[in-house]
């Protein structure tokens, strides 16, 4: 433990950010790094708990107290070794993770949690700057070929782990650059793309082969891929967005969030894209959906110079504090104000959109909305809503971005031709814990299996699936697992 009384002496502080008015002028990341002293103080707040709930709250099982202590002692190599033993990509999670670890932090019972995510980011950036992050070309090659479909966080994690285990790994990506949502989903101002590129290059040095612009099931036959591989990991993500099929949906000016965000990322990266420009510039924008993607739309709209931005959420406004129904250390559904919100938006809760209204040219001109109230169950969970009589109204706008989440992976193409079974939510069916699909040699991980989730979960799934693939190929695996394994079963 860094300092026994650190949590009493120092308060939680986050690094400074570029002021909102400034940062919306470009697409750069805007969070500064801590000073050395601040970093030291923040790490000193960790109490090295007897039961570190953070370590349990993290989907990766990051060993948080240990790396906090190493940071406090300025032993960067040790910190990096510990962090990288559970997380292949701290530079991603250190930037964009909602940090369930911090929700579970024991200090959070009665004080602000330890700034775990920032510390994580600092560890990896310092490790890069000190050249501690090196390719981990395995000593022993197994000669086994593994194909990974999809290069999002799950695919990348699986590839990195499998390569570490000595297998020959090829990653197939249908887009022009690897990274999936990391590359073309998350805006640059939250994750600059050189960060992704840096990692991809490192993996290439490890021996991972990336094949972009190839869509399995279209550009190459899924069966061939399976036949030519000793194992296949499907990590194509959950890509089919939830639609809002109400009257007026065909009007011009209504877009899925991901189309909007992806295009802007390409624009920032200087990558050519096809199709019409999707811009919020000088428009009244309404973002439907109150989640992180919605926030990204808000931030992007602001940067494009929208005239006004509103964000609608059908659920009621969450409370600002934990309630008895969401006690520590659970991840609480409380009001979250993101950095994009800070940059300017009007937020509405309990609003249901009933109709898109257009002008004579078929352009969107307004939304017809109604206020709703929710009926709750005993655990305070919403069951169904009722409209508030007389609250119907029109709200003018020219752009709507639908950020209401994703339903399941694309079924046409690879999934159908490979014949992998789907679960009741229409994700690829594979049990957590073994990640195997019904098709021999074929595994699935990440959102494609789990359904839409967090980057940290995708990395976790990729790692755990890789371990299962390794076991499948070799009989046992020396790759790390996030949970305890019975060493006797591994060794004998």
């Amino acid at each position: 433990m860094g300092k026994a009384t650190g949590f009493q002496e120092f308060n939680r502080e986050l690094p400074e950010k570029v002021p909102a008015a400034e940062r919306v002028k470009n697409y750069n990341e805007f969070v500064h790094l801590y000073t050395d002293e601040k970093l030291n103080q923040q790490s000193a707040r960790c109490m090295n708990c007897g039961v570190p709930f953070c370590h349990s709250g993290c989907p990766l099982g990051n060993i948080i107290p240990e790396f906090n202590d190493a940071v406090y002692r300025k032993n960067w190599e040790e910190a990096y070794n510990i962090l990288s033993s559970t997380n292949n990509f701290p530079e991603f999670t250190g930037r964009i993770c909602p940090a369930p670890c911090e929700s579970a932090c024991v200090l959070g019972i009665n004080k602000p949690a330890v700034a775990i995510e920032e510390i994580e980011k600092h560890i990896i950036e310092i490790a890069f700057s000190k050249n501690l992050v090196k390719p981990v070309a395995p000593l022993i090659k197994t000669g086994k070929r593994v194909s990974v479909v999809g290069s999002g966080p799950a695919g990348l994690a699986a590839a990195a782990q499998l390569s570490k285990a000595g297998h020959l790994v090829t990653v197939y990506e249908r887009d022009d650059r690897p990274g999936g949502l990391l590359q073309y989903g998350i805006p640059d101002f939250k994750l600059e793309k050189w960060v992704v590129q840096r990692r991809v290059e490192l993996m290439e040095k490890d021996g991972v082969v990336f094949k972009c612009n190839i869509e399995v099931g279209k550009d190459i036959a899924a069966d061939d891929l399976v036949r030519n591989s000793d194992a296949v990991v499907l990590a194509g993500g959950s890509t089919i967005p939830r639609n809002l099929p109400i009257p007026g949906r065909d009007l011009k000016g209504i877009f899925f969030a991901m189309d909007f965000l992806k295009q802007q990322n390409k624009r920032v990266s200087g990558v050519p894209f096809y199709g019409e420009d999707i811009l919020a510039t000088d428009k009244d924008v309404i973002v439907i959906g109150g989640g992180d993607t919605g926030s990204d739309c808000v931030g992007t709209s602001n940067r494009q110079g929208a005239k006004s931005i509103k964000q609608f959420e059908v659920m009621m406004q969450p409370p600002e504090q934990r309630t008895t129904h969401m006690p520590w250390p659970t991840y609480p559904m409380i009001l979250k104000t993101t950095s994009s919100h800070e940059e300017g938006v009007e937020r509405f809760w309990g609003v249901n959109t009933e109709e898109f209204l257009g002008d004579e040219d078929g352009n969107l001109r307004a939304l017809k909305v109604v206020d709703v109230t929710w009926e709750l169950d005993v655990m305070n969970r919403p069951i169904k809503f009722q409209k508030v009589e007389g609250s119907e109204r029109e709200i003018p706008c020219q752009r709507v971005f639908l950020a209401m989440g994703f339903l399941f992976p694309q079924h046409t193409g690879m999934i159908e031709s490979m014949g992998v079974a789907l679960d009741e939510r229409k994700n690829v069916k594979a049990k957590e814990g073994n990640y195997r699909t019904n098709v021999s040699k074929v595994f699935a991980a990440g959102d494609m299996r789990r359904g839409q989730s967090l980057v940290v979960w995708a990395i976790s799934e990729g790692r755990e699936a890789a371990r299962k693939v390794d076991e499948f190929l070799m009989g046992h695996s020396v790759l790390e697992s996030k949970d305890a394994v019975n060493p006797f079963e591994q060794v004998f």
Partner: protein, 1506 residues
């Protein structure tokens, strides 16, 4: 014997302990009189309370007397039988217990006849003793033998009595051996109490009063002896045990040999080399095995004394060898004597343990105390030429005029009377004489080998490379946690790390992580029958010195015995090991043996490897090597290391069996040894010295790669590490009450938990293992698992060891019962009062289907009855009264947490426990809303913080904490920063000054002492139950039986796993056993002894759910303690930082800011207990029990789960735990009768009667009383009555004024409160003014006495222990441990023994004479003034925590005031003289001023002035 030694269930006869009173009386000139015998019997009768009786009150535990052969009497008696006895000395008398059955008796007689013939002796005849069988108890009568005397004539060729005595010795041993071998049925009852031409012993399973009645011989006026030695036994069992009554042939022993297994092994280990000029080879054969099996430790000691005596050493010489003084490191000791001890240390290890021994060979009569002085022995020398020595003073009423000297034996000292020469020989004189017999000093000089003097090693030593270090760490099972939590702090701070909140990880045998072999070994610790030692404050009695080499022939004295390597401690650094490896003195060589085995994973590979190792070891000894180095360095991918503990123990036992062990030293060069516990295991199973090369290399690597934040260089870091190992070892020894490494060496003081019997019998022979477990191949599997990881090729290339996760929950680490899920569910359930969520929590804990944590986790309920409706089960309200919370002190936890527990328990009718920190009186008052913060259980722990008469009065139960699960055998410390004003007030100490709890209760060194404390507390509050808290360990059942006989009302068996506060982490994990074992053993043993119904049996230790309660109940517990779970319900999140005062939820902290964060409510805690009770009720309904009482002890309702999957769990055999013991029909399986505390006849009723008006309206009263040593605990009950009425304020000073005449029994004035003023003319025994709570005591010799008071012992040991207020004036000297843990009383005394004012935190002590050694050890407060005219005091003072200052003016004022008062109350001459010459005298006083206390006082003074 029908019920004793079947060893079914968990009981083992070898766990038996006994303890007692002993003494002797002698005419110095040896003049034989009948009076001596009569007086001795009276002395014995006056020590009845030091013995005990069993379930049947008329059956004693044994009493006896040893006298000289009463020739006149025997001559006449024999002539009646037509046996004509020759002259005294020309015949020997065997006193024999024969089996009653005539065929057996006849067969024995045949053997005796043959043996006498074979040895060329002549039998004169038998005399059958008439005895009064009707006088003894039923249990004793069941096993009563026929007692006969056998007369044997001395042949003409034997010309002196010593040779004849030796012949009789051979005869006795030979007969004994032949009977044992040829008529096993008779062996049980056949026994020689004595066989000598000088002495004879009358003893049996009788009470002290019955002895006289049972043997009419003893009251015959013709009987005469010059001396008599007596003994009264207090055994922990109630089984018939005629043989175990004492005295034995040479000794009577009050004490316990803690190291018996090792001592016996060491004795047998040299058997092959034993030869003596005094015995022919044939005779030697007849003697073997010299020490009998299956007898008590005292009997073994007697056996070894015999053989050493008969091979040419004098009795004093033998006693000095076996029970040496603390010589190592004693710079004040005479070099001749020190050389004697050092020389003999190379030959034999001490038989270590608390001991007061009286001994005689018919010529010398003497007594001896162990180095710690842990048993009392008082003596009187009279002007008419008698010496009377006994465990207590006043056992024989004497005319004070006849007293020449009153004394007590000092630690390590001997009192000797030579009855032939008619003189008393002083300790100095006899020891000088013995030590000068040979030029021991010169022998040592010539032959002793010191490492520092050895040549540099021939080969340069190569360190492991960093990569190899990592690989070795993997192979030997290091984790990151081991390095961070254990090795780093040891290297950085030189201290063993501490942790808190107990342990909740799986037992080693249930863990699915590969274990270190030593994790299956649980440390023994002392409780009740012997005390632990304080390794820090009483370091002077301890020693780590060790000797490597050939021990030689024990029965001979040879200069070459000391030709061995001498080490100051057993840890060798690499360079030292290399020196030893290449040693070559021409007569001394070392041989290295590789301890690996084939890593092919085939069955039997490990066994083969060990067999080969043992073979090589044997060959090497035969080849003449004196040192064997067992090394596991030479491992590779094909060869895995034999766990070093297994390797060393296998070789050790192999060499013992072949009688070669004594010829060689075993040095272990090992990678798998890094925690203190690992080292302790190796030493206890045979290693002589240890080189932990991998731990040392690990430190080197840490230093090199910058993982240590330190400026220390590598050498200092390694030195720190070695120091902390050594300190840790001392702590482990001291826990068991063992003082020296030599005695610990090979002592095997561990219980093995999880290895099967065949492994244990073969490789750890003699160690206890009761639940079976791994075989050799399974051990190999664990070792190979690590080996494969190390040599399996790490693919990732990163150097990360496994996390560990023992001391902290880690996701990939070891599993914990309290983990993020269970803590969350429990808190959520209790805060929302939601039983469904509780059931989820309980399910997580209870359902250990895939993972096993605990023994109870392996069990299922067995249904033998129809399930009943839950409505038929007694209501939860009834059940909740059976709950107690664990003892957590105010100090270790916050007021908020502490009072929340108390309120909750009071709401449900359960009992909360103060813990050892006292309790603020404001909590005795009910709160406005009707709640109460008063803790029903008041704990009495070793430090006695705040234990006053009023505290004891305000209790429903008084709990004597004998040990604590987290750190049995150790004391705690409350660091100064946690002692705020409030805590200081509650604990009667000074804010800011740290507090130490001594490892032992200084008033409990033995079972009879515990009985005394129970009696004291019963006097202090007779409405309260007396609860004795024990920690589960092998033999706890036997102790529990003893405690039940000592009249405890409740016995708590605590598991090893509980505990808050700071504990060394090795103690938390490695000391003590799960409660399942201890509870079952206790229940079984109590039932067998017909004692179960007399006590309530309670258990605690990680009880978390109703299922836990149900299992505990079926195993025998009718009440349950819950601590951790209750704390978690109150907000604890298992931070495990209690020792740092930084608890972030305000539970275990005194930081006012953090305390504000405490969020627990009594209702949360109440909810937990209600949920647990409801869950229990559900189980009861299912099993068909309507009440808890009908469920208690019904172990048939438990069975082993039939679907155990874990390969390790499958090896366990729980039949011992599940063994039902049938209750005798008059005994219930639960508490149903009250103990008889013997309160009816005590003197205090008279005191109370006389104080009636004082109690009514504070009118002063005056009275006087005659007292004897059987009048114990005077004034305590009276104080209880005062406290009841007047609280802590008591009565005005000098309200109750009593004068006593005579010898007061133990605990005179214990817990005597304000308003009481006692005067005692005469003397007092131990514990004067124990817990004094405001009274004034004055003690002075009888007016008629002619001796000089200041040179004589007037009061016994441990006076003023835990006194909190009041004044004590002693005209004369006190014994050892005067004013220990005094926190407020003022006292004047004219001389004291060793360890004075130890751990004192307050009050004033004025000492007008000599002090013994180690004065002021651990003294953190109060002031002592010592008169020091000869300037010798500083040598005796432990300077660690105190300054010696001159007197200030205020000091002088206080001293002169006290002197005047002392004169006024006692008539002290010393005080008069000092005052008369005050000017000079004032410069001759030293002020002993604790440093921390001084700082705080000066700061206070500064603040007041400022």
């Amino acid at each position: 014997m029908d019920q004793t030694e079947d060893g079914q269930g968990l009981y083992r006869p070898e766990f038996e302990h006994d303890s007692c009173g002993t003494g002797f009386i002698t005419n110095i000139n040896g003049h034989k009189t009948n009076q001596i015998i009569d007086d001795a019997l009276t002395m014995l009768e006056n020590m009845e309370h030091r013995g005990a009786c069993g379930c049947d009150p008329d059956s004693g535990d044994g009493a006896g007397i040893l006298i000289q052969l009463p020739h006149e009497f025997l001559l006449e008696e024999c002539s009646n039988l037509e046996i004509s006895l020759p002259e005294p000395g020309e015949y020997g008398v065997g006193m024999i217990f024969f089996p009653k059955e005539s065929a057996l008796k006849k067969a024995c007689r045949v053997i005796i006849g043959n043996a006498i013939e074979k040895l060329g002796l002549h039998k004169l005849g038998y005399r059958k003793l008439s005895v009064n069988s009707s006088t003894i108890g039923e249990t004793a009568r069941k096993a009563e033998p026929d007692v006969e005397q056998l007369f044997v004539q001395r042949p003409h060729h034997i010309t002196n009595t010593d040779d004849f005595e030796r012949k009789l010795y051979i005869l006795r041993r030979y007969i004994n051996k032949t009977v044992t071998e040829s008529i096993p049925a008779a062996a049980e009852h056949f026994y020689f109490t004595s066989f000598s031409c000088k002495t004879i012993i009358y003893k049996g399973q009788v009470t002290t009063y019955q002895l006289r009645q049972y043997f009419p011989d003893l009251v015959d006026e013709r009987m005469a002896s010059g001396f008599a030695m007596i003994h009264s036994r207090f055994s922990t069992n109630t089984f018939p045990s005629w043989k175990l009554a004492q005295p034995f042939r040479l000794i009577a022993h009050n004490g316990e040999i803690n190291t018996l297994t090792g001592n016996l092994n060491w004795f047998y280990s040299g058997l092959k080399s034993y030869a003596s000029a005094y015995f022919t080879n044939e005779e030697m054969e007849m003697l073997l095995p010299v020490i009998d099996n299956n007898q008590s430790d005292s009997a073994c000691l007697d056996n070894i004394i015999e053989i050493l005596l008969h091979t040419g050493r004098s009795l004093p010489h033998v006693m000095m060898m076996l029970i040496p003084e603390a010589w190592d490191g004693n710079e004040q000791m005479d070099p001749i004597k020190k050389a004697f001890y050092e020389y003999h240390a190379t030959l034999m290890e001490p038989w270590d343990g608390p001991a007061a021994i009286t001994f005689t060979d018919g010529k010398f009569v003497g007594a001896l105390l162990d180095r710690n002085g842990l048993r009392p022995l008082r003596f009187v020398i009279t002007t008419d030429g008698r010496v009377i020595a006994a465990s207590e003073a006043g056992v024989l009423k004497l005319d004070e005029k006849l007293v020449l000297r009153k004394g007590r034996l000092q630690p390590g000292k001997m009192l000797l009377v030579d009855t032939e020469k008619g003189k008393i020989i002083t300790d100095d004189e006899i020891k000088h004489q013995v030590a000068s017999r040979q030029p021991y000093g010169r022998w040592l000089e010539n032959y002793k080998i010191r490492l520092s003097e050895l040549a540099e090693p021939r080969l340069a030593f190569a360190s492991l490379s960093e990569d190899s270090v990592f690989r070795y760490q993997q192979v030997f099972g290091y984790t990151r946690e081991d390095i961070d939590t254990i090795i780093k702090p040891m290297a950085l701070d030189g201290k063993e790390p501490v942790g808190s909140m107990g342990t909740d990880v799986p037992l080693a045998i249930l863990s699915d992580k590969p274990q270190h072999l030593s994790s299956y070994f649980k440390q023994f610790f002392a409780q009740v029958t012997n005390p632990p030692i304080d390794p820090i404050r009483e370091r002077l009695v301890m020693s780590l010195a060790t000797f490597i080499g050939n021990n030689g022939n024990l029965l001979d004295e040879d200069k070459m015995h000391c030709h061995c390597v001498v080490l100051q401690h057993p840890i060798l650094k690499n360079h030292q090991l290399e020196k030893l490896r290449s040693i070559d003195t021409g007569m001394f060589h070392a041989k290295t043996l590789q301890t690996y085995y084939n890593a092919d994973g085939m069955p039997g590979s490990l066994e083969k490897g060990i067999a080969r190792l043992c073979r090589y070891a044997e060959d090497s000894v035969d080849d003449g090597f004196e040192v064997l180095i067992l090394s596991d360095r030479a491992i590779d991918s094909e060869h895995a290391p034999i766990p070093s503990l297994l390797a060393v123990s296998a070789v050790h036992h192999h060499l013992i069996k072949s009688g070669r062990r004594g010829a060689v030293g075993l040095v272990v060069e090992t990678g798998d040894t890094w925690e203190v516990h690992h080292f302790a295991c190796l030493l206890a199973f045979g290693a002589t010295a240890i080189n932990p090369y991998l731990a040392l290399s690990t430190i080197e690597t840490l230093k090199n790669n910058g993982s240590l934040e330190t400026s220390l260089d590598l050498k200092s870091l390694q030195k720190n590490y070695v120091k902390s190992v050594n300190d840790g070892l001392l702590k482990i020894f001291s826990k068991m009450g063992i003082s020296t490494l030599q005695s610990y060496h090979g002592s095997q003081v561990f219980e093995i938990l999880g290895l099967n019997k065949s492994v244990v019998d073969k490789y750890f022979a003699g160690a206890v293992t009761r639940i079976g477990g791994l075989g050799l191949d399974e051990i190999a599997r664990e070792s190979l698992c690590k080996h494969k990881i190390g040599f399996g090729g790490s693919k990732s290339g990163t150097h990360l060891l496994p996390e560990g996760g023992i001391y902290q929950w880690k996701r990939r680490g070891e599993s914990h019962l309290f983990n993020p899920t269970t803590v969350h569910l429990l808190q959520h359930a209790t805060r929302t009062n939601n039983y469904d969520i509780y059931k989820n929590y309980a399910k997580e804990i209870n359902e250990q289907t895939e993972k096993h944590f605990t023994i109870r986790g392996l069990l299922d309920f067995a249904h033998h009855r129809e399930a009943i409706s839950i409505d038929e089960v007694e209501p939860a309200e009834n059940i909740m009264k059976r709950f107690a919370t664990g003892a957590m002190s105010f100090g270790s936890i916050s007021h908020e947490a502490h009072s929340t527990m108390a309120i909750a328990m009071n709401r449900i009718g359960g009992k909360s426990n103060t813990g050892e920190g006292g309790e603020d009186e404001i909590r005795y008052e009910p709160m406005p809303n009707g709640d109460s913060m008063r803790s029903a259980i008041k704990q009495v722990a070793s430090a006695r913080f705040g234990v006053t008469s009023n505290y004891l009065t305000n209790a429903d139960e008084l709990q004597i904490k004998m040990a604590q699960g987290a750190k049995p055998g150790e004391g705690g410390q409350l660091p100064g920063h946690k002692v705020d004003d409030w805590i200081a007030k509650t604990r009667h100490s000074t804010p800011g000054v740290g507090l130490i709890s001594p490892p032992p209760h200084h008033d409990i060194y033995s079972i009879e002492d515990l009985a005394q404390l129970i009696f004291d507390l019963k006097n202090a509050n007779r409405a309260a139950r007396i609860n004795v808290k024990l920690v589960s360990k092998a033999g706890v059942g036997t102790i529990a039986a003893g405690v039940a006989k000592a009249h405890a009302d409740v016995i708590l068996i605590a598991g090893y796993d509980g505990g808050t506060g700071a504990s060394p982490i090795s103690s938390v994990k490695h000391a003590g056993l799960p409660w399942e074992l201890g509870l079952s053993e206790a229940h079984q043993t109590l039932v067998r002894n017909k004692l179960r119904s007399r006590v309530v049996l309670q258990t605690d230790g990680q009880l978390k759910t109703g299922r836990d309660l149900a299992i505990a109940c079926l195993m025998g517990a009718e009440e349950w303690g819950v601590a951790t779970a209750a704390l978690v319900a109150g907000g604890c999140i298992m931070m495990r930082k209690c020792h740092l005062n930084t608890c972030p939820v305000g539970v275990a902290t005194q930081d006012p800011e953090l305390r504000k964060l405490f969020s627990g409510k009594p209702e949360h805690v109440v909810n937990l207990f209600r949920f647990m009770a409801e869950e229990l009720r559900e189980i009861m309904a299912e099993l068909g029990f309507r009440t808890v009482n009908e469920m208690v002890g019904r172990v048939q309702f438990l069975k082993v789960k039939d679907n155990l999957t874990s390969w390790k769990a499958k090896q366990i055999d729980l039949s011992g735990i599940l063994h039902p013991v049938n209750n005798p029909k008059d005994v219930t399986l639960y508490n149903s009768e009250k103990q008889d505390h013997g309160m009816d006849a005590i003197l205090d009723w008279k005191l109370l009667e006389a104080a009636k008006v004082a109690l009514e309206d504070k009118t002063p009263v005056f009275a006087s009383f005659d007292v004897r040593n059987v009048d114990r605990t005077i004034g305590t009950l009276l104080s209880n009555e005062i406290s009841k009425k007047y609280g802590s304020a008591g009565l005005p000073d000098n309200t109750v004024n009593y004068k006593f005449n005579g010898s007061a029994g133990q605990s005179f004035g214990a817990f005597a409160t304000k308003g009481i003023s006692f005067e005692l003319e005469g003397e007092a025994n131990d514990y004067v003014g124990k817990g004094l709570s405001g009274a004034q005591l004055a003690i002075y010799p009888a007016e008629s006495a002619t001796f000089t008071p200041e040179e004589n012992i007037i009061i016994g040991n441990v006076a003023l222990y835990g006194a909190t207020a009041g004044e004590v004036f002693i005209r004369g000297m006190a014994g050892e441990r005067f004013a220990v843990r005094n926190s407020g009383a003022t006292t004047v005394v004219e001389g004291i023994g060793d360890h004075g004012c130890e751990y004192m935190t307050g009050g004033r002590a004025l000492i007008l004479g000599e002090t013994g050694r180690n004065f002021a050890a651990g003294m953190s407060g109060g002031i002592a003034w010592v008169y020091n005219p000869n300037n010798t005091f500083s040598e005796n003072c432990n300077m660690e925590m105190v300054d010696l200052d001159p007197l200030s003016i205020q000091d002088e004022e206080q001293i002169t005031t006290l002197l005047h008062k002392h004169i006024h109350l006692t008539g002290s001459k010393v005080a008069q003289e000092l005052l008369a010459n005050w000017k000079k005298a004032s410069t001759q006083f030293v002020k002993v001023y604790p440093k921390e206390y001084k700082k705080v006082l000066e700061k206070l003074q500064y603040q007041t002035i400022g």
